[in-house]
Every structure is written in structure tokens, then in C-alpha cells.
Symmetry: C2
Subunit: 148 residues, 2 copies
DNA sequence: CTTCTTGCAAACCATTTGCATCATT
DNA sequence: AATGATGCAAATGGTTTGCAAGAAG
């Protein structure tokens, strides 16, 4: 956390931007909820603590956090974006159930190796990629099979 | 194409829905443009041919085409959805450049195998998954490196 | 004090929906 | 004729933006 604030402060400084209490509060809130969070959650949680920040500010701050490399924007197949810590959070990918939305984080050496090989062959930069798998978890698969 | 119309007609029939000229036109248009298309393209292309169909109808038809297994909805990381043929189109995945949007289709035996293993281990249904890789293509990577 | 920030409300944009009218079966 | 389908225009929902008022350096 201390580290992150420092990184953020440096990033802001380098762009002649200011470290306001709203920006600080958003970053702090992200640290308090390690899961995959959405803008709405932040607004809600901050409000509960009387540390209000408007949606506009939250979205603007999230952009800055992404630019500074502290936060990662992830697509979990919902209509809205999710965010998760990038800093000090080991590299991983997401597997998402198309039915119930269940998210599984994983990282797999063999797949990473194959992906790198594939990227290299295809004119894509290896190792900076990020990928997600959409499918059905066992529970939902069973429900689907019964429905048919 | 003939095959697809037949599948569509059967699907519609099974649901007591009708094969209208608009639905036929949308399906035909999808066959004329094999790439990854978006609803907007369809509207535009159909209009040029004086085979108008409202956005509402296009979206409604796309839903039906997806349900009937003729078309697949793909997420290429844009704010809007893309669609591609599913029927008679061999299984493949997408690699998308985060900067220029370039899309590469691929299918990789080794990765598929690893994915299946991973799914099985993680309580996800193997082999029904679909995944996409986001990264930077070489051209954009070079541009990025120069910018920094 | 100057420049950047905030909050608000309006704007956006892809997609969805209610409803009256029109077209398949 | 009866049930669905269409087009329109309005609604939706997440996100963005213009602008006047406020705060950080």
C-alpha cells in the first residue's frame, strides 16, 4: 500500500497532477478489497465511509491508476469493467463461467510457454499478453444439460 | 449458406417463429462478409442494398442466430460486440492487439490440450471454452517503445 | 494565486424495449 | 384471421465530458 501510494504520487508528479484526498481514498479502498472490483463498488464503499467521490472522479482516478501501472482493468464478460491490483500481484489469467459469472484465477506454466511461442510466431509481442477463458463451470454445465 | 438457412428455418420453426425477409437478409449479409462483423456494419450494408432492417431487428435477429448456433458472438475488446459464423467455420481463438485492434485467428493443439487439462482440474467444462488473448502486435510494440 | 480537480448534470453509445402497425403462416 | 415481426422512438446503463465552483502546490 505504502509502495503503491508512492508509485502513484510519482506518476502524478511526473504529469503535473495532484494527489488529492479523493484519489488517495480510491487507491486505499482498492487495497481494502482485494477481489475484482467495479466502479460501482468503489462508489458504494466510499460512500459508506463518508469519503464520497463522484462517479466521474472514480472513473478518472481508475484511468490514472491503470496508466500508472498500479491497477489492471480486466474484462470478465460483464457489461461493465472490473479492476484488480497489478502492483505486487502475481501474474495470472482469468477463467470465467458464462452462466454464473464465477471467476477463477490461474497461471499455468505450460500454457504461458505455448502462448509465448505462438505470439512470437504470429508477430505479437510475447509475454505482455493477457488472456481470458470463457466457458461453463461444472455446476452450470450440469444445470444446462438438465435443461436440454 | 443453403445449409445455414435450413438450420435457421428449422430453429425458428421449432420455436414457432417466422422466417421473414429481414431475417433472411441479415443471414445472407453475414455470409457475404466473412470477417468479424458488427451490428452497425450489417445495418450499413443492408441499407446500401435497399434491404433495410432497423437496428432493433438486426439485434433481435443476431440473438436468434446465436441461439440457433449459426453465429458466434465474439468479444474483441471493443465497446461493441462482433459476430462471426459458427457453422462450417472451424474452431479457432482470437488474438487481439490492444492498440490497433488487429485480430489474428489461430488454433493451437498444444494450448487446447493444456486448456482442457486446466479446465478439468479447475471444475470447468473442458472443450466448450473459448478464449482470447490481448496483447500488442509487433508494429504497435515498436511504436510504444519509441514513445517511451 | 495559478493550475488542476471535483461534482453535477447532460451527453454518449451500444443495445433493449414498449407499442402500434404490418406481414407470415 | 391469428400470431409474430417490424420500426420507431424512448429507455437503459455504464461511462465520459463541459463547466462552474473549489482545493492542492
Amino acid at each position: 500500500m505504502t509502495h503503491a501510494i508512492q508509485v502513484f504520487a510519482e506518476y502524478l508528479n511526473s504529469k503535473d497532477l495532484k494527489l488529492t484526498k479523493e484519489r488517495r481514498a480510491v487507491l486505499q479502498e482498492i487495497f481494502l478489497h482485494p477481489g475484482h472490483l467495479e466502479a460501482e463498488d468503489l462508489a458504494h464503499n466510499l460512500r459508506k465511509k463518508r469519503k464520497r467521490a463522484s462517479r466521474a472522479t472514480i472513473y478518472r482516478t481508475l484511468d490514472l491508476l491503470v496508466e500508472s501501472g498500479i491497477v489492471r482493468k480486466v474484462d470478465l464478460g460483464h457489461e461493465h469493467s472490473h479492476y484488480e491490483l497489478e502492483l505486487d500481484n502475481p501474474h495470472h489469467e482469468h477463467m470465467i463461467c458464462l452462466k454464473c459469472g464465477k471467476v477463477l484465477e490461474f497461471s499455468d506454466k505450460a500454457i504461458e510457454r505455448d502462448l509465448n511461442r505462438l505470439c512470437k510466431r504470429s508477430g505479437f509481442e510475447p509475454s505482455s499478453h493477457r488472456f481470458q477463458i470463457f466457458g461453463y463451470c461444472d455446476r452450470c454445465r450440469k444445470a444446462r444439460e438438465q435443461a436440454v
